[in-house]
């Protein structure tokens, strides 16, 4: 097929009249059974480079993509132009996925989108053995490389697969963001004879700038001013932590700006709803961790503000890449406080658990094959730690992931090599050097677009003519006293939510008076609990009551129940008594522990925490719970396992509502 023949078909099928040169270059080679790594900026039209060939092959094209939102959009579009396309993902019911796999086996589908994790799924692996496959596509291929900004262990198996595919089987890997080093790494990983096709990276409509500030309050105040007076359209605010998504969006709402928050801790339904809200411009802005935006089909994101600098220029380029795909002027702003290096530095330094923890996992797996949860039980490590360690051990060939019936277990390997920590150190040093580059970007006085493009291997920009440096603006922000007052006011009325609602329990989301660890509340609790400081002081009571009023208003409760302590001590009982007296609800001391538990804080993961409190509570007056609305009080809310277990018990006993109230909520916790 020559280009004009192909473009005729392109017109018929896609209603597009021509290919860009790089598109045709790619497609020609794909049709010829070659392997291509295609690096083009967002908006180039990478997807046509596999969608078109997919319509020309006799069999099925499999597209591995980590972005569920993107899959959904593309499936909708391809179906609308008559190309039978489906996606299989964990957001869909198992029956629906099974039906799609059946269709694929019967040759009723041309294109199937699946998440990389699917390559570990039994049903998928069984089904794919009976599909006629013509091409494999790896979207977001930078996820293959640890030298990139978003390495994902789930891509490991796709890499192994591609290396095993027949030599003349077409494979296309695409990404918008890869340094030379990442591109080289991806190429060598997916096998010999990979042709690299790379376009230019300049985003002409971007107005890049950096605003220098001295503290968090300045960022909050600047942001409120920017959104009220200067920002056209709708956009995204990126924060460095989940806690800050909540803090900043609450602040913006407090300042009268319509904002929502988004992070990976939300359930998939809420996430989907917010993604839709973004597309519909339901809010002026969404405050999010970098989990939002990847693969969302919204061409008119008008601004992106980072309240925290990312780990590296490549992270930054990738995150801002989601904006302004319609080509209209788009503002890209970084709020920069030199102290902000601490957060990414912390992430980089703690990206790997200690060697002792690796040994713990290895030793546990020498006794018997274990799944993830049993491994967490056996080692008392957090889920995140177990996952990081597991991925490294698999990568080094020390353990393998083996199917036992329907469940996945990890096996130590005969003749396994010793753990090699040198790659970890090398990677850490590399990431520290990248962070220095990010700081250089923030402090640079030359063209910012040129800086980013050079970093990514494109040195054709020189002057974008639109960034703050090219326009010779030096942007600083100093906080006024008025603004500071307003922020103090906000802080006094800001209470973290306790998210415990589930379908099977009558427990509702509760509230804490503060975060543990980022305010003086934590210190006060610690003094009372561990340094014999006596009852919790009155300011904690006042603050907690304010949180209660903020969340529950004048709602009446039938009973105040408190979490019985692990070790002796009446702190929580006394505190609950004071709350009950003030609110004039009756206090019940009838919730007891029937088996001794260990302090939850010694368990590092939620599986062990849940095991520790499972079935340990008893209410001494079971019939007294029926139809009651219960306020459930604890001092520190951590994983929520205890609160949820009590919620489960009270729901079983017929409670109408269980509302948790805590003095402080810890930051972090897993799952």
């Amino acid at each position: 097929m020559n280009r004009s023949q192909a473009e005729q078909k392109l017109q018929q099928i896609f209603n597009i009249d021509h290919f860009y040169d790089d598109q045709w270059k790619t497609i020609k080679r794909i049709l010829n059974g070659e392997r291509i790594l295609l690096i083009e900026k967002t908006g180039f039209g990478k997807s046509l480079c596999y969608q078109f060939p997919a319509t020309q092959f006799s069999g099925l094209t499999i597209i591995f993509s980590p972005l569920i939102a993107l899959m959904r959009d593309q499936v909708k579009y391809l179906k609308s132009i008559g190309i039978p396309t489906e996606c299989v993902n964990s957001g869909q019911e198992p029956e629906e996925n099974a039906e799609i796999l059946e269709k694929a086996k019967n040759g009723q589908i041309k294109i199937i989108y699946i998440a990389p994790e699917r390559q570990e799924n039994r049903e998928w692996l069984e089904a794919v053995r009976n599909m006629q496959i013509s091409m494999v596509v790896i979207d977001e291929a930078h996820c293959i490389s640890v030298w990139g900004h978003d390495f994902r262990p789930a891509f490991r198996r796709i890499v192994s697969l591609v290396r095993l595919l027949p030599q003349n089987f077409p494979v296309l890997a695409t990404t918008a963001t890869a340094t030379k080093r990442v591109a080289e790494d991806v190429r060598t990983q997916i096998g010999n004879n990979v042709t690299l096709i790379r376009g230019n990276l300049l985003r002409e409509n971007f107005h890049l700038s950096v605003v220098k500030v001295h503290n968090e309050e300045s960022k909050m105040a600047w942001l409120a001013g920017f959104l009220k007076k200067h920002a056209g359209g709708n956009g995204l605010i990126y924060t460095g932590t989940r806690v800050n998504t909540d803090l900043f969006s609450s602040w913006l709402q407090f300042a009268g700006i319509s904002a929502s928050s988004y992070n990976a801790g939300l359930d998939s339904e809420s996430r989907k709803d917010i993604e839709n809200g973004l597309i519909e411009n339901r809010w002026k802005c969404i405050v999010s961790t970098n989990a939002l935006g990847m693969g969302i089909d919204k061409p008119d994101i008008r601004f992106i503000v980072h309240t925290q600098m990312p780990q590296s220029p490549i992270h930054y380029y990738q995150e801002i890449g989601r904006a302004g795909r319609d080509g209209l002027p788009t503002r890209i702003i970084l709020l920069y406080n030199p102290e902000d290096r601490e957060l990414p530095e912390h992430f980089i330094k703690n990206s790997r658990p200690s060697m002792k923890k690796y040994e713990k996992v290895i030793d546990a797996l020498k006794t018997e094959p274990m799944g993830e949860w049993n491994l967490m039980r056996a080692t008392n490590l957090t889920q995140t730690q177990v996952r990081v360690i597991r991925a490294d051990l698999i990568d080094q060939g020390i353990i393998k992931e083996v199917m036992y019936g329907g469940s996945k277990k990890y096996e130590y390997q005969y003749g396994a090599p010793q753990l090699d920590t040198r790659p970890f150190e090398e990677l850490r040093n590399f990431k520290m050097a990248e962070l220095e580059q990010m700081i250089s970007y923030s402090e640079s006085s030359s063209c910012r677009m040129d800086f980013l493009c050079r970093y990514l291997g494109d040195d054709t920009v020189n002057h974008c003519g639109k960034c703050d440096n090219d326009l010779q603006k030096d942007l600083h922000y100093n906080l006024s006293e008025d603004r500071q007052k307003k922020i103090d006011e906000f802080r006094d009325s800001y209470f973290p939510e306790l998210e415990v609602e589930t379908k099977n329990s009558n427990i509702v989301n509760g509230v804490a008076s503060s975060y543990y660890g980022i305010s003086n509340v934590g210190a006060a609790i610690h003094r009372c609990k561990y340094e014999n400081g006596g009852d919790f002081p009155n300011h904690l009571l006042k603050q907690t009551l304010r949180a209660f009023r903020h969340k529950f208003g004048n709602e009446e409760f039938d009973l105040v129940v408190y979490v019985p302590p692990t070790e002796s001590g009446d702190l929580v009982r006394n505190f609950a008594g004071k709350v009950a007296r003030t609110l004039k609800f009756p206090l019940s001391p009838k919730l007891v522990k029937i088996t001794a538990t260990k302090p939850q804080k010694i368990f590092q993961n939620s599986v062990l925490k849940r095991d520790n409190v499972k079935d340990v509570f008893l209410y001494r007056d079971e019939s007294g719970i029926i139809g009651k609305k219960i306020l459930l009080i604890d001092d520190i809310y951590d994983s929520g396992a205890t609160i949820k277990e009590i919620g489960r018990l009270f729901t079983k006993l017929g409670a109408e509502k269980i509302a948790p109230l805590a003095i402080a909520k810890t930051v972090g916790g897993d799952i």
Binding site: V128, L161, L164, L165, P166, T367, K400, Y412
Partner: protein
């Protein structure tokens, strides 16, 4: 040529439907060694060049065409196998068992092995202990003794993982801290229970699990029978604890004797109901309960006695039994008599009678392997 990028091709060829092992092996040799092609080149050829170069018939051409379209699917399966810690050992790989190749040759040696565990066991000196699933206590006793001896001499015990002798050999070997190769009667991906059971011994390097079948193939009688060939093939020496006159053990040993393999058979006690002495008659080396070689005296006595009583006139098996006072049933005596090269059977008056071959009156050579 046996790097992992070739594995999908190996699987596609090894599992060509209803192709004899020898045919597959010869094709592989022809492609890789005689024509010096790669599998990739081979599968790039179309039907026309295939038939010109290799003279395939239409069924074979069709099979190869299907195999070609299934190559990507085999890639998925290979990835799954490797991810789960299984290894693939093609027949031309250095890791392939030299014993197996040498014993079975291109005719029966599987083109592709699937393993998990310490594959260097394939290079060690090895024995197999074989016998029936319902072996007697004394046979199991023998099995344990041989397993212990094998462990003491640092050899590897090859086991078929069947009930009875097989399983006893394996367990005794592992109890004695020895090393074993488990040869599966099924695909290697269907053995989760076994992998769990022998986990610690596998990761310590004491056990290698091996299958020559498609990794997803479930257990079947056919595969179990076929597996015996691989057990015999993987062992340098074979010890027979107990054999019936038919079945896997019998045919395996008979075949082994034809190929001059080193085979040791437990000499049965008087009154045992099995075919061990028949195998000894056929030429296997008799051993006692401890595995020590015993003299063939008794056997030679038996032959002398038969010669004596038949020297005057032909007799029925019953008559022979009465005259030489041998304590076995008549049916079995008949089988033993038919193994003697100097005796012929005649039908007379509706009765089977045995007489000496004329030539035997002067011949003293008792064993003629051509006959077995």
């Amino acid at each position: 040529m046996s790097d992992i990028q070739q594995y999908a091709y190996w699987m596609a060829l090894a599992h060509l439907p209803k192709w004899r092992t020898e045919k597959i092996n010869r094709l592989i040799v022809e492609i890789l060694h005689e024509l010096n092609m790669s599998f990739y080149d081979f599968f790039e050829m179309d039907q026309k060049s295939w038939s010109e170069e290799f003279h395939f018939n239409s069924k074979e051409l069709n099979d190869l065409d299907i195999a070609k379209t299934e190559l990507p699917n085999y890639s998925f399966l290979v990835e799954d196998l490797l991810n789960q810690g299984f290894e693939l050992i093609p027949i031309d790989a250095d890791d392939y068992s030299p014993t197996l190749k040498n014993n079975l040759k291109l005719k029966y040696a599987p083109p592709l092995l699937y393993t998990k565990g310490n594959k260097s066991l394939l290079k060690e000196s090895s024995i197999a202990i074989v016998g029936s699933r319902n072996a007697s206590d004394i046979s199991l006793e023998f099995t344990k003794k041989i397993a212990q001896n094998t462990v003491k001499s640092f050899q590897v015990v090859v086991s078929g993982f069947a009930k009875g002798v097989d399983r006893t050999a394996l367990e005794e070997t592992l109890t004695a801290n020895g090393r074993s190769i488990i040869v599966l009667p099924q695909g290697i991906m269907t053995f989760a229970g076994g992998f769990k059971k022998y986990y610690s011994r596998i990761i310590e390097g004491d056990v290698l699990v091996l299958s020559a079948y498609h990794p997803k193939a479930p257990w079947s009688v056919g595969l179990a029978m076929g597996r015996n060939t691989y057990i015999y093939g993987l062992a340098d020496k074979i010890y027979v604890a107990e054999s019936d006159v038919k079945g896997g053990t019998w045919s395996g040993v008979a075949d082994g004797l034809r190929k001059n393999r080193e085979i040791y058979v437990r000499k049965p006690n008087p009154g045992e109901n099995n075919a061990n002495d028949l195998l000894i008659l056929k030429g296997a080396t008799p051993v006692n309960i401890n595995g020590d070689i015993v003299q063939r005296e008794e056997l030679e006595n038996f032959e002398e006695q038969v010669k004596n009583v038949l020297s005057s006139k032909p007799l029925t098996a019953k008559e022979i039994k009465d005259q030489i006072h041998i304590d076995i049933d008549t049916r079995k005596l008949s089988s033993m008599l038919s193994e003697l090269t100097f005796v012929v059977k005649e039908k007379d008056d509706g009765k089977n009678r045995y007489r000496l071959k004329n030539s035997e009156l002067i011949q003293t050579n008792l064993f003629d392997s051509r006959d077995i």
